[in-house]
């Protein structure tokens, strides 16, 4: 086994941080089976508790941040992460828009705590789940729940090459067209969030005969009210319309606003 890990001493230092999340986005890095060792060669994976025991020390050239801010402690910790990082990239819907746990933003978190815990008084949590960009400057946001690993490799390698990552900003619809998928909404009347959802997954759900449920969050200029009219025509009631925008990116502006239009 020759050549493994003979990094130049100046290899950029990478850190992977976790806030409130499911670990799925950072697992995407370990799921790059073919690229992982190459990445480890090009970068010094200096802090990545899910993968190594190496402790936090010093500063990092690139920080990947997963998860949202939901505790007072994490609200402080993200400031420290920012201070230690030359570039900070958020990975996934949790870090970029608050994630599924942002559903508490539409409820009373004390009610949530008392549903789950016998002793809610032991639980220290914030009333909201907020994206990282609400707290510190973010250099790039990678969307998806989970992120797409091809996009992750693109973002890391463009960082190494000091260029801007090329990730598309159009909607899932365009990816369907590129793939030659038959439109599930037009052909089968299946409700689909594709028209308002950010590209990145390669139009996965429609390729499996399913409507998009918006896991990459809103596209850059979505016309959600117009899509809602179409979804209503397909039989979705107000309750269903509110819920469809309120999943893994509920706190992203375009989805939040549209869901609120359907609140009782």
């Amino acid at each position: 086994m020759s050549g493994q890990g003979h990094r130049t001493p100046s290899a950029p230092r990478l850190a992977v941080w976790k806030f409130a999340s499911c670990d799925g986005c950072q697992l995407s890095l370990l799921d790059c089976e073919d690229e992982l060792l190459a990445v480890a060669q090009a970068l010094d994976i200096a802090y990545f508790p899910e993968a190594t025991r190496a402790p936090i020390r010093g500063n990092y050239d690139l920080s990947l941040v997963e998860g949202s801010v939901t505790t007072p402690h994490d609200a402080e910790r993200i400031q420290d992460v920012r201070r230690r990082s030359r570039a900070l990239i958020t990975i996934g819907a949790c870090a970029t828009s608050g994630g599924i746990q942002a559903l508490r933003n539409f409820a009373d978190v004390r009610d949530y705590a008392s549903i789950v815990y016998a002793r809610p008084d032991y639980i220290h949590t914030l009333a909201t789940s907020t994206p990282i960009s609400d707290h510190v400057k973010v250099d790039f946001e990678l969307r998806g729940c989970p992120i797409d690993k091809v996009q992750l490799i693109e973002v890391i390698s463009s960082f190494l090459a000091r260029r801007k990552p090329t990730t598309p900003s159009h909607s899932v619809c365009l990816q369907c067209k590129l793939k030659g998928n038959v439109c599930v909404m037009v052909a089968r009347g299946t409700p689909c969030l594709g028209p308002v959802t950010h590209a990145g997954c390669g139009a996965l759900c429609p390729s499996y005969d399913r409507g998009c449920y918006g896991c990459f969050g809103p596209a850059e200029t979505p016309n959600a009210p117009s899509l809602s009219a179409q979804l209503a025509a397909l039989g979705m009631d107000e309750d269903a319309l509110r819920r469809v925008y309120r999943t893994f990116n509920a706190q992203a502006e375009a989805f939040r606003e549209e869901s609120e239009r359907h609140d009782e």
Binding site: S21, L30, D31, I100, Y112, S207
Partner: protein, 430 residues
């Protein structure tokens, strides 16, 4: 009296966040506490008011490491509530998807998380510098697991193709067949992995565990079976809450679980499954276990790495069998009408049994949800392990002792984010 506290700030190479605090008095472990400070995400609360059809996608987000386990438990519990049974090729496809998750998750744990403890590295990536071929072999097997998940589930993390009643689209026979060759190759490699890990230097220890897992008369359990224990418990999944309870301790955002009527903690996961189901492993997996000198009941938790390798062999073998007999179903899903009801299900995540219960309104809306993940069930047993097993290492210098404590926890592949709830080590020597 001399005493000290050893603490591990943030436990590494486990999924999610937690810590340990060990108090030593006069050279003995006085107490061991696992604290899980993973921020709570309140899944059971946010399930309320959603449609039953949404549960598999939402439940998946509890954990990126074993989303299939959450999806499978959710769909089975919903089907139980709605009076539906999925059989034939659709049932097979679910087992196949589960094979993919076991392969992927076990190989990640064996190579990137657990093996570095035995070979003396901080992690898999560091280990790759000296043992590149071994790490690459592990990653190659893992990749085949992910390929199964991608083909059957649409993607490896949070599969999009799972629905109550079946799948959105059933895979093509020829696409599955195309996987067979790579599975055969991975099976060869997994046999080598089992031989390799069986040769590690294991601390000599035995624990008198109460094991709990699913048990199915003629198959190694994934999705279905009765809940059994090494002490004679034998119940249907719907009776879980009669025999098990969750309780809340201040130091942890993860709930603990215990068996009612008996105060002892219990263990779920590969050791438990193997102890209670070794007779229904495939012949090849049985042969591999014999060759690895795995006793018929393994009570040394450090040897769980061998059991994971054996279960990986089983999962690859099973996947090949399913693919060989697969015929495309007439429909990818059974049509389901909502009704009021309560549904229960337990399935076997790679790191142990998990239980879901949902109550549905007449229109199929979720009225309430109970989700009991493997890590919360194992939490008390992990603390017991720390108390009983680290005693032999108390004379070690702080760093080595700390490492031993961490390894003792990693034996059980705890997944802290899943507990929506995980670990830091503090050792108090006074």
């Amino acid at each position: 009296m001399t005493s000290r506290t050893i603490s591990v700030g943030a436990l590494a190479r486990v999924e999610g966040e937690g810590g340990l605090e060990i108090v030593l008095r006069d050279g003995e472990v006085k107490s061991a506490a696992l604290t899980i400070f993973e921020p709570p995400r309140f899944f059971e609360a946010l399930m309320r008011g959603r449609a039953f059809t949404e549960a598999p996608d939402i439940a998946a987000r509890i954990c990126g490491i074993c989303p299939v386990a959450y999806q499978m438990s959710a769909v089975h519990a919903m089907e139980d509530a709605l009076g539906v049974r999925v059989t034939g090729p659709l049932r097979d496809l679910r087992r196949l998807l589960y094979c993919g998750e076991w392969i992927e998750s076990h190989m990640l744990h064996v190579h990137m998380l657990h093996m570095p403890d035995f070979l003396g590295y901080a992690g898999g990536v560091d280990m790759a510098r000296d043992h590149g071929d071994i790490v690459r072999r592990g990653l190659a097997i893992k990749k085949v697991g992910n390929e199964i998940m991608t083909l059957v589930g649409g993607r490896e993390i949070h599969p999009i193709n799972v629905r109550v009643g079946g799948f959105y689209r059933a895979p093509r026979k020829r696409d599955l067949r195309a996987l067979a060759e790579r599975l055969e190759r991975a099976l060869e490699q997994a046999l080598q992995v089992a031989r390799f890990v069986a040769g590690f230097d294991f601390p000599d220890c035995a624990r008198d565990y109460v094991f709990v897992s699913l048990r199915h008369a003629d198959e190694y359990p994934f999705n279905e079976g009765r809940i059994v224990s090494s002490r004679g418990l034998d119940i249907a999944a719907r009776d879980f809450e009669t025999h098990f309870e969750e309780f809340h301790v201040q130091r942890s955002t993860a709930l603990h679980a215990r068996m009612r009527h008996c105060d002892a903690p219990y263990l779920v996961g590969p050791l438990a499954r193997y102890a209670l189901n070794a007779d229904v492993l495939s012949p090849l997996a049985k042969e591999a276990a014999r060759e690895a000198r795995l006793e018929s009941v393994c009570v040394n938790p450090y040897r769980s790495i061998i059991v994971r390798a054996i279960e990986t062999i089983f999962a690859l073998d099973e996947a090949l069998r399913i693919i060989a007999r697969y015929e495309e179903p007439d429909a990818s899903c059974i049509a389901i009408a909502p009704r009021a009801g309560v549904g229960h299900a337990a399935t076997e995540a790679p790191r142990g049994m998990l239980y879901h219960r949902y109550r549905l309104e007449a229109d199929g809306t979720i009225a309430d949800a109970i989700i009991t993940p493997p890590t919360s069930q194992n939490q008390a047993m992990i603390e017991e392990d720390l108390k009983r097993l680290t005693g032999a290492f108390v004379h070690l210098p702080e760093d080595e002792l700390r490492h031993r404590c961490e390894q003792t926890v990693r034996n059980h592949d705890p997944c802290i984010s899943c507990s929506t709830h995980f670990l830091r080590l503090e050792i108090d020597r006074g």
